[in-house]
C-alpha cells in the first residue's frame, strides 16, 4: 500500500513542479504573439438619438490583422465613427479610417493611417474557432474601462452560445442572428469591445464583444472563423451582403411527434415576414424545410439555427433557391428567389433648424417597427426645445409630407429641408403618420428664433 502511495506521489510531484512554469511560459509566448498588434481605439461617434447630431468619444479595442494596417474591432465601437484615433501597443498615436462594418455580426474594420508612423506594425494571426475546446485557456486583451494594454485570463466557458435575433446593438440594429458566441470567464469589461480573445498558441480565436452586466465574468466573443469571412468582405465591399427571404425558424425539439418528422431532420418555419420572398413563394408557418438546394438541413436546437440562416444568407441576392418542404406529411418543392437583406438602419440626417433628427426607412426598419411601407422618413429624436417639440413631433413618427411635398425618397426630404431653411420659411406643416394615424405637425421656426433672442 505504502508503495503505491509513494509511486503516485512520485508521478504527481514532478507534474506539480513543472505545471505552473509550463503554462506561464505559454501565456508569455501567446502574449508576445498578439500584444504588439493590440490597438486602443478612441472613435468619435455620431449620435442622433437626442434630436440633434451629438458627437461622443467612446473607447474600444482592436487588433491589427493585415500588413496594410487593417484593424478588426466591433461595429458598435467604430461603426458610426466620424474620426478615429488609435494608440498602438508602443504607445504611439496613429489616426485611422473607417473601412466598413457589419452590424449583424458586430464586426467592423478600420485602417491605420501609417504615413507618419516610424515604427513597425505587428500583425496578429487568426486561429480556428471551430477547433476551440470548452475549458481551454484563453486571454482577453484590450482596454477595459479604457485601461489600455490589459490582459485577463480565463477559459472558454462554452462555445455555442446563441442569442436570439432580438438582441440589439446600442445604436439599435438587430444583431446575432447569423452567429454563435464563444463564452469566456476571462474578465471582459466595457472598453474590451473589439479586442482579441487569444489562445495559448498566440492565435486569435474570437473578438470580444459583450459581457453580461452584473455578473461575474460572463463575456462573449464572436468566433474568429466568422470574423475572417466578415472582415474579408468588409475590406472588399465595405459591408456584408446577405440574401433574405423573410423566414423565422424555431428549433424542432419536442415538435417532431406533432409534425411527423425524424429526429435531426428539417428546420421548422415559425414565422414569415409580410411581403417577403418566402411569403410570395407561398411558404407558411409550420412548414418544415428538409433540404436547401439538395443539401439536407436540420435544427433540433436553437444553437443550430445560425447555420441554417447563414446557408440562406450566403447566396447572392436574386438567386433562386430550391427548398424541399414537408407540409401536412407531404413533401413539396418551393423555389424562392432571394432578395438582398438591405441595411438594418437608414442614413441619418439632422434637421438642425427644426430641432429633430430623421433616418431613411429601410425594408428591415419597416419590418422591425411595423411601418406600413418604406415611404417617408423616420423621426429618430426630437430636441427638448425646438420647433419639432413645439409642434408635437415625437420619436418614431414617420414624416410623409413637408408642406405639399410628398416624401418618397430620402432625398425628397433632405432637399425640401435644405430649401426651406434657405428660403427662411417660418411655418412648415408636416403630415406625419403615428401608429397608423395621420397627424399634422406645425413647425413654427419664428417662435424658436424668438425664444433664442429672448433667452
Amino acid at each position: 500500500m505504502r508503495k503505491i502511495v509513494l509511486s503516485i506521489c512520485l508521478f504527481l510531484f514532478p507534474g506539480l513542479l513543472y505545471a505552473t512554469p509550463a503554462i506561464q511560459n505559454e501565456i508569455y509566448q501567446a502574449r508576445e504573439n498578439v500584444m504588439p498588434a493590440l490597438v486602443h481605439i478612441q472613435p468619435v461617434i455620431k449620435n442622433f438619438q437626442t434630436g440633434e447630431m451629438e458627437k461622443q468619444a467612446v473607447i474600444g479595442s482592436g487588433v491589427i490583422f493585415h500588413p496594410d494596417g487593417y484593424v478588426v474591432t466591433n461595429y458598435h465601437v467604430a461603426g458610426k465613427a466620424e474620426r478615429i484615433i488609435c494608440t498602438l501597443n508602443d504607445k504611439e498615436i496613429v489616426p485611422a479610417t473607417y473601412i466598413g462594418g457589419d452590424p449583424m455580426t458586430d464586426i467592423s474594420v478600420i485602417q491605420l493611417d501609417l504615413e507618419n508612423y516610424t515604427g513597425k506594425i505587428h500583425i496578429a494571426e487568426f486561429g480556428d474557432s471551430d477547433s476551440v475546446q470548452v475549458g481551454q485557456y484563453v486571454m482577453a486583451m484590450g482596454s477595459p474601462l479604457s485601461l489600455s494594454r490589459s490582459i485577463s485570463l480565463g477559459v472558454i466557458s462554452t462555445k455555442d452560445r446563441y442569442f436570439s435575433s432580438d438582441v440589439r446593438l446600442p445604436s439599435g440594429e438587430r444583431t446575432g442572428r447569423y452567429n454563435l458566441w464563444l463564452q469566456t470567464d476571462a474578465a471582459i469589461n466595457p472598453g474590451n469591445s473589439g479586442g482579441p480573445l487569444v489562445d495559448l498558441n498566440g492565435k486569435i480565436v474570437g473578438i470580444n464583444s459583450r459581457a453580461q452586466m452584473f455578473a461575474n465574468n460572463i463575456g462573449f466573443a464572436i468566433p474568429i472563423n466568422i470574423v475572417k469571412r466578415v472582415a474579408n468582405e468588409v475590406i472588399k465591399n465595405g459591408k456584408v451582403t446577405r440574401s433574405w427571404i423573410g423566414l423565422h425558424c424555431q428549433p424542432m425539439q419536442d415538435l417532431e411527434g406533432y409534425f411527423g418528422t425524424n429526429r435531426n431532420s428539417g428546420v421548422l418555419i415559425s414565422s414569415i415576414d409580410a411581403d417577403s420572398p418566402a411569403e410570395h413563394a407561398f411558404l407558411k408557418a409550420g412548414d418544415i424545410v428538409l433540404k436547401v438546394n439538395d443539401t439536407p438541413v436540420s435544427a433540433r436546437f436553437v444553437e443550430e439555427l445560425p447555420l441554417f440562416y447563414n446557408m440562406i444568407a450566403q447566396y447572392a441576392p436574386g438567386t433562386s433557391i430550391a427548398l424541399e418542404v414537408k407540409r401536412n406529411n407531404e413533401v413539396f418543392n418551393f423555389n424562392v428567389v432571394t432578395k438582398k437583406l438591405g441595411d438594418l438602419q437608414g442614413e441619418d440626417f439632422e434637421c438642425k433648424d427644426w430641432g429633430f433628427t430623421v433616418k431613411a426607412i429601410t425594408k428591415q426598419m419597416q419590418i422591425d417597427n411595423q411601418l406600413e411601407d418604406t415611404v417617408g422618413v423616420y423621426v429618430v429624436g426630437v430636441k427638448n426645445i425646438g420647433a419639432g417639440d413645439g409642434g408635437g413631433l415625437r420619436r418614431r413618427d414617420v414624416i410623409k409630407k413637408v408642406n405639399e411635398t410628398e416624401i418618397v425618397e430620402f432625398t425628397d426630404f433632405t432637399s425640401s429641408y435644405n430649401q426651406m431653411v434657405l428660403e427662411k420659411k417660418e411655418k412648415i406643416l408636416l403630415t406625419i403618420n403615428r401608429g397608423g394615424a395621420t397627424r399634422y405637425v406645425l413647425l413654427d421656426i419664428s417662435d424658436i428664433e424668438g425664444m433664442k433672442t429672448d433667452g
Partner: protein, 474 residues
C-alpha cells in the same frame, strides 16, 4: 387706535364670525338621524390579479342606499373596470368583488351583488339581495346655489374598533370652476372620503364628493375614451352634482356593459397656430387622424383630415391636445344610440367645403378587462377573447386575424413552464383554428378527455408566430 384700522378689524371679525356661525349652524343631531337611515357599511373581498399574480383583500366602504329597491352607491375606485394597461402590455390588471356584506346601522345585514362602477366618477353600485323589501333611501336635491365660502358637510367611515363607526366633517366651497367643466371645488375633505354624500347648510344632500380630472393627466384608453386611471398628485375634490347622480341611479353602470357612446376616430386638437396656418376662423376644433373601419365615424362619411368644428351646433373649443379628453367625454356621455351632428371642414385640395355629417354613436368597444375569459385549471392559464384594442395596438387586421389572448398564467404552472407568455395570442391548437374561447375550451377538453401527451399551440407573439408544445401531466 386709528379708526379705519379698528373698522377693518371689526369687519374681519364679523366675517370670521359669520363663517363660524354658518359652520356651527349644521344641525348634526338632525342630520345624523337622517344619515343612519339610508347609510350602510359595506364589507367585501376584492380579488386583484396582475398577470400571474393574484391576491384577495378585504375592503370596507361607507355606502348610501339610493333607491327603494336597494341600489347602493359607494366608492368603486378599486373596482372600476377600466384599464388601458391590459391591451398595451397584455397584462390584465383586474379587480373583482367577492362576498359582499352590507350592514345597516340598526344591525340589519344583507348580501349584495356588485353591478358596476362609473368610469368617470368611479362611483360604484351594488344591489342588496332581498325579497321585495322596501328600503329607506336618499333623495338628492338638484340645482345647488352654493357660493364660494359656503360650508358643506359629510360623514365618513371610521375604523372598525370605534363605535359609532361614522364621524362628521365639514369643508368649504373654495372655488367655482368653469373650465374644463362646471365644478364646485371644496377644501377640507380628503380623497378617502370620496363618494360620501355632501350636505349643504340646510342639510340637503346635494351630491357626493368626487374629483376633477386634469385633462392633461388623462391618457387615451384603447377604445379612444378618457381614462381616469392616472390622476396622480393632489386631487382636486368637489361636488359630483345631483343631476349627474340621478342619471346614474336611473341607469346604473354595469360591469362589462358599455354605456358610453363611441365614434371611432383618433383625434388631434386644432391649435390656434394651425387654425391660423390654414386660415380658419375658429376657436378650436378636432382634426380627424384616423377612422376605425365600420365605426360610426366611418359610416357617417367622415374622412381623415376632416376638421370638426361644431357638435350639434355647439362650437368645439378644443385648441390644445390636453383638452381632447373633454371632447371625448362629451361624446362618451351622449351614450350609444345618440345621433350627433358634426359640422366639418374638409380641405379638398384648394376647395374648402363646410359640410354637416350625422353619426349614430355605438357602444364603445369592449375593454380587455371585460372580455369573456376561459380558465383552464389543468394547464393553469386563462385566456380571453380578443378585443378591439388588441387589433389596434398590435396592428392586426380584425377581418382576417383570429385568436384568443393569454390573460393569466399561474406562476410555476404547466402553461408558464412550457413557454406560454401573457399577451400571447393563441391562433391554433393542434390543427384546430381558435376564434373564441369556446373553440379553445372544446379543443382543450378534447385533449383532456383523450389524455393527449402534448398539446401544440400556434401562437402570435411580438409580430411573429411560433409553436409552443405543452407536455401534459393529466
Amino acid at each position: 387706535m386709528d379708526k379705519t384700522v379698528r373698522f377693518a378689524f371689526t369687519f374681519i371679525f364679523i366675517i370670521l364670525m359669520s363663517v363660524s356661525v354658518q359652520a356651527q349652524s349644521f344641525d348634526f343631531e338632525r342630520l345624523e338621524k337622517e344619515f343612519v337611515r339610508y347609510s350602510v357599511i359595506i364589507d367585501m373581498n376584492i380579488e386583484y390579479s396582475f398577470g400571474i399574480h393574484n391576491n384577495e383583500q378585504s375592503e370596507r366602504y361607507l355606502g348610501t342606499v339610493v333607491s327603494e329597491d336597494g341600489l347602493v352607491m359607494f366608492n368603486g375606485t378599486s373596482l372600476s373596470s377600466e384599464n388601458s394597461i391590459a391591451a398595451m402590455t397584455g397584462v390584465n390588471v383586474k379587480s373583482s368583488a367577492k362576498s359582499i356584506t352590507v350592514t345597516f346601522f340598526d344591525g340589519k345585514e344583507y348580501t349584495a351583488d356588485f353591478i358596476g362602477a362609473d368610469r368617470f366618477t368611479n362611483i360604484g353600485f351594488l344591489r342588496l339581495n332581498s325579497d321585495d323589501e322596501k328600503f329607506p333611501f336618499i333623495k338628492f336635491r338638484s340645482g345647488n346655489n352654493l357660493k364660494v365660502g359656503d360650508w358643506v358637510s359629510l360623514y365618513m367611515l371610521m375604523p372598525e374598533f370605534i363605535n359609532p363607526q361614522y364621524s362628521a366633517d365639514i369643508g368649504m366651497v373654495s372655488s367655482i370652476i368653469e373650465t374644463p367643466e362646471n365644478f364646485h371645488l371644496i377644501v377640507g375633505f380628503n380623497a378617502l372620503q370620496m363618494t360620501s354624500v355632501i350636505f349643504d347648510g340646510n342639510l340637503n344632500p346635494i351630491g357626493v364628493l368626487g374629483r376633477l380630472n386634469d385633462p392633461s393627466q388623462s391618457t387615451i384608453d384603447p377604445s379612444g375614451m378618457l381614462d381616469s386611471f392616472n390622476s396622480f398628485g393632489m386631487p382636486l375634490l368637489g361636488i359630483i352634482t345631483a343631476d349627474r347622480l340621478e342619471k346614474m341611479i336611473a341607469d346604473p353602470p354595469q360591469k362589462g356593459k358599455s354605456d358610453r357612446g363611441w365614434l371611432g376616430i383618433t383625434l388631434q386638437a386644432l391649435t390656434k397656430e394651425m387654425a391660423e396656418f390654414w386660415r380658419l376662423d375658429l376657436e378650436g376644433g378636432i382634426i380627424v387622424n384616423d377612422i376605425v373601419n365600420n365605426s360610426p365615424a366611418f359610416k357617417s362619411g367622415l374622412q381623415v383630415g376632416d376638421i370638426l368644428y361644431k357638435v350639434n351646433d355647439q362650437p368645439v373649443t378644443v385648441s390644445k391636445e390636453e383638452e381632447i379628453s373633454i371632447f371625448q367625454r362629451k361624446i362618451a356621455e351622449m351614450g350609444p344610440g345618440a345621433s350627433v351632428e358634426f359640422s366639418v371642414i374638409r380641405n379638398n385640395e384648394e376647395l374648402i367645403d363646410s359640410l354637416k355629417l350625422i353619426a349614430v354613436l355605438e357602444d364603445s368597444p369592449m375593454t380587455a378587462t371585460d372580455a369573456p375569459e376561459y380558465d383552464n385549471t389543468e394547464l393553469e392559464f386563462k385566456a380571453r377573447e380578443m378585443v378591439f384594442a388588441d387589433f389596434l395596438f398590435n396592428n392586426l387586421d380584425d377581418e382576417t386575424f383570429t385568436g384568443v389572448v393569454v390573460s393569466e398564467l399561474k406562476s410555476g404552472g404547466l402553461a408558464q413552464i412550457e413557454g406560454l407568455e401573457i399577451g400571447d395570442i393563441i391562433q391554433r391548437v393542434g390543427d384546430a383554428t381558435i376564434e373564441n374561447i369556446d373553440d379553445l375550451e372544446t379543443v382543450l377538453t378534447e385533449a383532456y378527455d383523450d389524455k393527449q401527451d402534448e398539446i401544440i399551440f400556434f401562437i402570435w407573439r411580438n409580430q411573429k408566430t411560433l409553436f409552443v408544445n405543452i407536455k401534459t401531466e393529466w
